[in-house]
Every structure is written in structure tokens, then in C-alpha cells.
Symmetry: C2
Subunit: 313 residues, 2 copies
């Protein structure tokens, strides 16, 4: 039994923000990410390899705030965070403030496999990527016209005192999976948010907060106001409620996302999976890029209420 779920960020996501063709293009990339992860799982690969493969596709897509096309910080550069966790071993890897590693999730995976340091930050993280044969690029590689314009717009809003909408502020990609051997894994990658302070680290590279996986409980990847995910230790909180209160995944996830986080009035969403391959994608915003493949192989993708049932893999 295998299963896979992904998200590409949540927020206000006004339907008029993108054309129909653009929404469809984003959904197409979600489908590609699901296919990439599913291919790994179906050929007997690990949940860790599957979530990495799915996240890489979203990092490479201009439609999501991670890797290429990431939101730009106050200095106009992409400062990328990512992490990955193996539910079988509790192995983990995490990076923050990366600016040259093309695929931060691959770098997180390399750290995890290195079995020493779990977390690296800044230029040393990029150097680790280079030393371990991962592709590094010039920082300008990540910068798209769309994100450059978003930064200009955000700085303008800031000057005029207009509060930014959530749709403009959030975005993150992530994946969770159950593999043939019954193991869980989670991975998350992000550029943070447009115009974020230099050096700001959100929940994405924080094991226990934005990313968490433990066999016997669940795997979780989050998107939303990262500061609250950190303070609520969201991933580990959901796992703890399952392990110690005996709640099922849907109940625990609902409690944390729709009650604990929603109470602060902040936008949040997660994708999570349990050991039986049950997937949940709760979010308290207007929309969330998301997709999943059920244990029967049926592909679903969605951005708002409407769920598209695409194909059976």
C-alpha cells in the first residue's frame, strides 16, 4: 500500500489573481509532482525518495514559492529554507538561508544521509551542496519576473501603509508519503514570503514545526504563517495527539489547523498522512494548492473548493 500527498502553499488566492490558463498550468505542475513521487513509490522506492522527487518538481516550477520562482526577500534575493524527515529512523536534514543550491530539498536529503549535522545555515549550506555534488547556481537563477514584480508591489504597499493580503505573503511546497514498507516521510521547501527580512527563518526547516514524520503516527508538511507553526510545534503536536490521545489523523489535524492556529487569525494549511495511507489537507484560508494520490492510485488536484479527479496511475 502506497500513498502520496502534496501542497503548493495556501492563502487568499483570489480566483481573479490568475487566468484560467494559469490556474490550469499550476495544476498541471501539481500533477507532475504527484507523478514523480508516485513513480518512486510504485517502483519500490522509499517514502523519503518520493517526497524529495515530488518537492523537486515544485521547486523547479515557476508557479510555487520554492526554488526557482521563490518569493524574494527585502534585498531582492531568494533565501531558501527546506527540510526532510524519515519517519522510520527519525533521521532529518534541514537548511536555512540557502541562495545557491538549486534544489534545497536535495541538500536537506544529503544532510540527512550524512548522518551527522542535521541543520546548516547560510553560505556554508550552499558550500555543502557543492561539495556533495549537488547542482549549484548563481543566486540570480531563482529570480523570476513575476516575483520581482511581486516585490515591487509589496514594497509599494508597505510605503502606502496598505496591509498585504495573505495571498501575497505566503507560499511553501511540501509532500508526505507512505511507502511499500510502511514507512512515512515528509519534506518542505520555501522562499518564505515576499519582502521578508534578511536572515528570517520560518517553520519550513524546523523539524517538528513545518516538517515532521514518525512511523506509527503521521507525516506532516505545513504552509502558512511560519512563526505560528514554530510556536505551536505543529507537526509534532499532531503526532503527539495521535500517539498519546489516541486521536485519528483527521481529528488531530483539524484541532491544530482549524482551532489552535485559526484562533490566531492566521492562514495555515497542511498535508498529512498516516500509516494506513489516509491523507488529509486541512486549510483555513480561501485556497490551497494541493494534490494527492490515494492508495488506489487515483490522482486528485485542487486549488480552491473544487477537486479535480485527474487519472488513475
Amino acid at each position: 500500500m502506497i500513498a502520496l500527498g502534496i501542497h503548493g502553499g495556501c492563502g487568499v488566492m483570489a480566483r481573479t489573481e490568475l487566468s484560467d490558463a494559469q490556474w490550469a498550468a499550476a495544476r498541471a505542475d501539481l500533477i507532475e509532482a504527484l507523478r514523480a513521487g508516485w513513480r518512486v513509490l510504485q517502483t519500490g522506492g522509499s517514502a523519503v525518495a518520493a517526497v524529495e522527487a515530488a518537492v523537486v518538481v515544485m521547486e523547479e516550477s515557476p508557479h510555487f514559492n520554492a526554488g526557482y520562482g521563490a518569493a524574494l526577500n527585502i534585498d531582492g534575493v531568494a533565501a531558501l529554507d527546506a527540510s526532510i524527515m524519515d519517519g522510520a529512523s527519525l533521521g532529518a536534514g534541514a537548511v536555512s538561508a540557502v541562495s545557491r543550491a538549486r534544489n534545497p530539498v536535495k541538500l536537506a536529503r544529503a544532510l540527512m544521509e550524512g548522518k551527522g549535522t542535521v541543520m546548516l545555515t547560510g553560505p556554508a549550506a550552499d558550500a555543502y551542496a557543492e561539495a556533495h555534488g549537488l547542482e549549484v547556481v548563481a543566486p540570480s537563477f531563482f529570480v523570476t519576473d513575476r516575483q520581482r514584480q511581486a516585490l515591487v508591489r509589496m514594497k509599494h504597499l508597505e510605503r502606502t501603509g496598505t496591509p498585504a493580503t495573505e495571498g501575497e505573503k505566503h507560499g511553501t511546497v511540501g509532500a508526505v508519503a507512505l511507502d511499500r514498507d510502511g514507512h512515512l516521510a515528509a519534506a518542505t521547501s520555501t522562499g518564505g514570503y515576499t519582502n521578508k527580512p534578511a536572515g528570517r527563518v520560518g517553520d519550513t526547516p524546523i523539524i517538528g514545526a513545518g516538517t515532521y514524520a514518525r512511523d506509527g503516527t503521521c507525516a506532516v508538511s505545513g504552509t502558512g504563517a511560519g512563526e505560528y507553526f514554530i510556536r505551536h510545534v505543529v507537526g509534532h503536536e499532531i503526532a503527539s495527539r495521535m500517539a498519546y490521545l489516541g486521536e485519528d489523523l483527521a481529528t488531530a489535524a483539524h484541532k491544530v489547523v482549524m482551532e489552535d492556529l485559526h484562533r490566531h487569525g492566521i492562514g495555515a494549511g497542511i498535508v498529512a498522512i498516516d500509516g494506513q495511507g489516509r491523507l488529509v489537507v486541512p486549510y483555513n484560508t480561501d485556497g490551497m494548492y494541493r494534490g494527492w494520490v490515494t492508495t488506489e492510485g487515483v490522482v486528485h488536484v485542487a486549488t480552491h473548493d473544487k477537486v479535480f479527479v485527474v487519472e488513475t496511475l
Copy 2:
């Protein structure tokens, strides 16, 4: 009712490593840290202010691996991590890879009070300190002869293939407190370990792992192999066991430190406090610098088995 506990790191700490006078000097600084935190609590100050005050004294002491006298990384510089958490509001602040802010715990506190970004990394964190009126120093300020020699010794051991002992590798300082209003707080600060990779971030700035506080459960500050504290989300795990399994603090802390972490064969210790001011200081290594003031005001300090009852404040 008020109470306060601190640690100054755990490890092998061979009794022959320091002279009797040096052990006594380290204990004296632990006592100073306790007095500083106690003064805050006794005058009606918050648990947050008390843990900050206690940690600042240990950051200023050459005897502990934090602030002045911190362990040096592979490049011979101090790269400092710290965090603080308010159990009343779940507010938190954290910094990693700081090299100029004289007291990283003060910087973490400033971030928490800023109520925006929770975590900053690298030079931008130091810049935040400067912009918020905190003292910044030249990176060379932190470097002591003792730590320079420790780095030379460690690089030599590395070249000769001799595995380093834990006593040489670990060290961190931290504090937990209960204030008059019944609120809990925790803070932690560290240089990591001697010869650590550039950019390596341990559990100290990871909310939920090395530092955690939540009213109604506990406040926790950890010391030991940080990578395992991250993977086990140690602080939040202890709080979750208390909240959801109904375990008392001693039982939950013992389970995590003496079973979960000890199983990996790694050195670990914590100081933790519950809402009734009960303090625990479990560690699975030969020694741990530690001290506490009971709700009756009795000061205790210790490095190994023997506990010195010092005075009543």
C-alpha cells in the same frame, strides 16, 4: 511561588579535567546566575526576564560554552545560537550563527518582543541586535585562550583519528523559571561544539527541541548532542507526555532523557520545571553543570553527583 533552574552543559567532565579551584569558580558563576534570575523573580519580574538574566551571566562567564568563552567552530570563530520562549503566550525568539551580538539570549528576547519574525540567522541577526540597541562586539571578543587551545587539540585528535570525548564536544547553558503569576519560561544559549562545521545549527535555537515552555505543562532547556534533540523534538515531547498522557514532569523527563535519547548512546541532559515549581535535572552523562533555587529559596549547585546546598535567598 517562584522557582528557577539552570544548566551549564553536560558531558564526560572528568574530575581531573579542572583543578578544584576551577570547579569552584564554575560553581560560583552558576550561583551568580541563580542570584541574577532570582532577583528578577523576587521583585515580581517575569519568568522570561528571569531566564534571560540567568543566561546572560553564564554567557558572560568563561566557564561555559555560550557567549564569551563559547566553543569555536572549524574556522576558529564563535557561531552562536540562542532562543527563549514565554510559556504564557507561546511567544518565542531564536537566533542562529550569530557572531557579533554580545548576548545572543538578549537578541532572542528582542525578537520575541518584536512579535514578528521568530527566528533570524547569520549577519542579519547581528544587524538586528545593533538596530535594536543591543551591544555588539568584534567577533574576536568571544574567543578565549582556553577555547582556542581546545580547538587546536580537537583538530589534532581529528588528524590522528582519535574520537573526541563528549566532554570535549558538548556544552550549552540554559534556564527555566516559574514566576509569581504562575507563568513558565525557558532560554538556552550555546556555541555548539568545538570544531563544528561552519553553518551548523544545533537544537538550541529550535523551539520545541532545545527550548520549550508552555504554561500548564513545563519549561525545558536542553544540553547534549543537538542533532538528537532536534529529531526527538525533546522539549515539546516532554510537554506532550505531560499534557496528553498525564505523566508528571519527572516521569516524562526521565522517559525522554534516560530512555529515548540514552538509547542512541548520546549524552544529554535537561533542566525542566512544572507549574508547581518542581524542578528536575536529569542527565545521562557523567556530569552536568546545574543549579536550582527551590520554591523555598534554597540554592543548590552541582557539577557531578555531589550537590552543594549553598544558601537561602
